[in-house]
């Protein structure tokens, strides 16, 4: 390898793509939050819900709230309905904590229908009462390491402590998603032990590592939830769904196979390897 030449070529590339790199520089975490919101929508679709996207008045643009600022009415939300079960998905929603009057902003909130104001009044939107919070998702563009898990459990402890109780009555029904941590990286070295311990303690939380790959697998078809199962299981089910479509003679309508590479066995391995570059322990 001619390292000098590689370095110069990347330097030139960075100069030529400064605008796009500036965008990523500013918006990389927000892209994950958007992906998390869409992933939750897909989870509800896969759980048999019909979903209806409600955009701000006068637009067909899906507008994700990406900070604590702003009125919910200025952003998109999604109504999910299955029989008598109706809920709404909101991004960066302020909710009252589960132990006191503290106000927390969760990346994706799953709340009872109708509790978030859809029209702007003269006052700022009040935080959503904790009793109307069904569940929530937090997104981090990190490898999942022990302290991140501890931080997430701390958030659940304050915002929705019932999910940390052993009591079975707190099991969520209706296909609802338990409080979930979405991350771009893989599970770190000793996080498996911690997750097993969470399971023994009956914590009702889920951890979705490699979320970009999970979302890719869900987007391939088969009506899969990006939160369901391990990465390998999800990719396998996605590949099987594609295989079924191919066997039935249905055409693939884009070039995703070549680019995203999550269908063939070799490409699955490549996709799984992709996020290893985010690892703190690099080999």
């Amino acid at each position: 390898m001619d390292a000098d030449s590689v370095s110069r070529a990347i330097q030139q590339f960075a100069r030529e793509h400064r605008t796009a790199l500036d965008f990523l520089n500013a918006r990389q975490p927000q892209l994950l939050e958007m992906g998390a919101m869409v992933g939750v929508v897909q989870h509800y679709r896969a759980s048999g819900y019909s979903t209806s996207i409600r955009n701000p008045v006068g637009t067909q643009i899906f507008r994700v709230k990406l900070s604590t600022q702003g009125h919910p009415a200025d952003y998109s939300h999604v109504v999910c309905e299955r029989g008598t079960s109706i809920c709404e998905l909101h991004s960066n929603l302020s909710v009252i904590g589960g132990r006191d009057a503290g106000v927390y902003c969760v990346d994706v909130a799953i709340v009872n229908a109708g509790v978030v104001p859809h029209k702007k009044g003269k006052k700022a939107a009040p935080p959503t009462p904790n009793s109307d919070l069904i569940s929530f998702v937090e997104a981090k563009k990190l490898v999942i390491y022990p302290m991140l898990l501890a931080q997430f459990v701390g958030i659940v402890h304050e915002v929705a402590p019932k999910f940390l109780k052993r009591d079975r009555k707190y099991e969520l029904g209706d296909g609802h998603l338990h409080p979930s941590l979405v991350a771009l990286g893989r599970l770190g070295t000793n996080t498996q032990d911690i997750l097993k311990s969470f399971k023994r303690r009956k914590y009702k939380i889920s951890i979705a590592e490699h979320f970009d790959i999970r979302l890719s697998a869900a987007a391939r078809g088969g009506n899969l939830s990006p939160f369901a199962g391990t990465i390998s299981e999800l990719l396998q089910r996605s590949a099987e769904a594609k295989s079924l479509r191919d066997d039935s003679g249905l055409a693939i309508d884009d070039d995703t196979d070549e680019l995203s590479g999550i269908v063939t066995t070799t490409a699955m391995e490549a996709a799984l390897n992709r996020e290893i570059s985010d690892d703190e322990i690099p080999f």
Binding site: S5, I10, R15, R274, F283
Partner: protein, 139 residues
């Protein structure tokens, strides 16, 4: 000297990206002796500098790739119900200029790598294997 090849291009990156790329490259530099042991390759200064460069490129590619595919798959899953997604002040819809810009970013980076004799498959390999390939290239 380990980051000399990395610093040469990283200074062209915006701050947060530069921090991620250089920070990751440093972590590989710190692990380079363990990597060389596992690879059973004698670690020279030049080999270590090359390894760290590959690590930095791999991180940059991961950032570009992850961001693009999150956007692509999000718009795909939202389907026809929306005409695009708005992230900050930028609206993305398949085929519009901003969307194409991120697509080109990833595509052009992969072309640059290919032109330099590097492939995405190669830079995604475990580091001991990468070090082995780099060492073979010098023989």
């Amino acid at each position: 000297m380990s980051l000399r090849y990395v610093n040469a291009f990283a200074r062209e990156l915006p701050y947060a990206l530069r921090e991620q790329v250089v920070g990751y490259a440093r972590s590989v530099e710190l692990a380079s002796h363990d990597i060389s042991k596992e690879a059973e390759v004698e670690l020279t200064d030049e080999l270590r500098d090359q390894l760290v460069l590959v690590a930095a490129v791999r991180k940059l590619h991961a950032i570009c790739s992850t961001s693009y595919w999150l956007l692509y798959n999000s718009t795909r899953l939202l389907g026809d119900e929306v005409s695009g997604v708005r992230v900050g002040n930028t609206t993305f819809s398949p085929g519009n200029a901003d969307f194409d810009q991120l697509s080109r970013l990833l595509g052009d980076l992969e072309i640059v790598l290919r032109d330099q004799g590097l492939t995405v498959e190669m830079i995604r390999q475990p580091y001991p294997e990468i070090l082995g390939l780099l060492a073979d290239g010098r023989r």
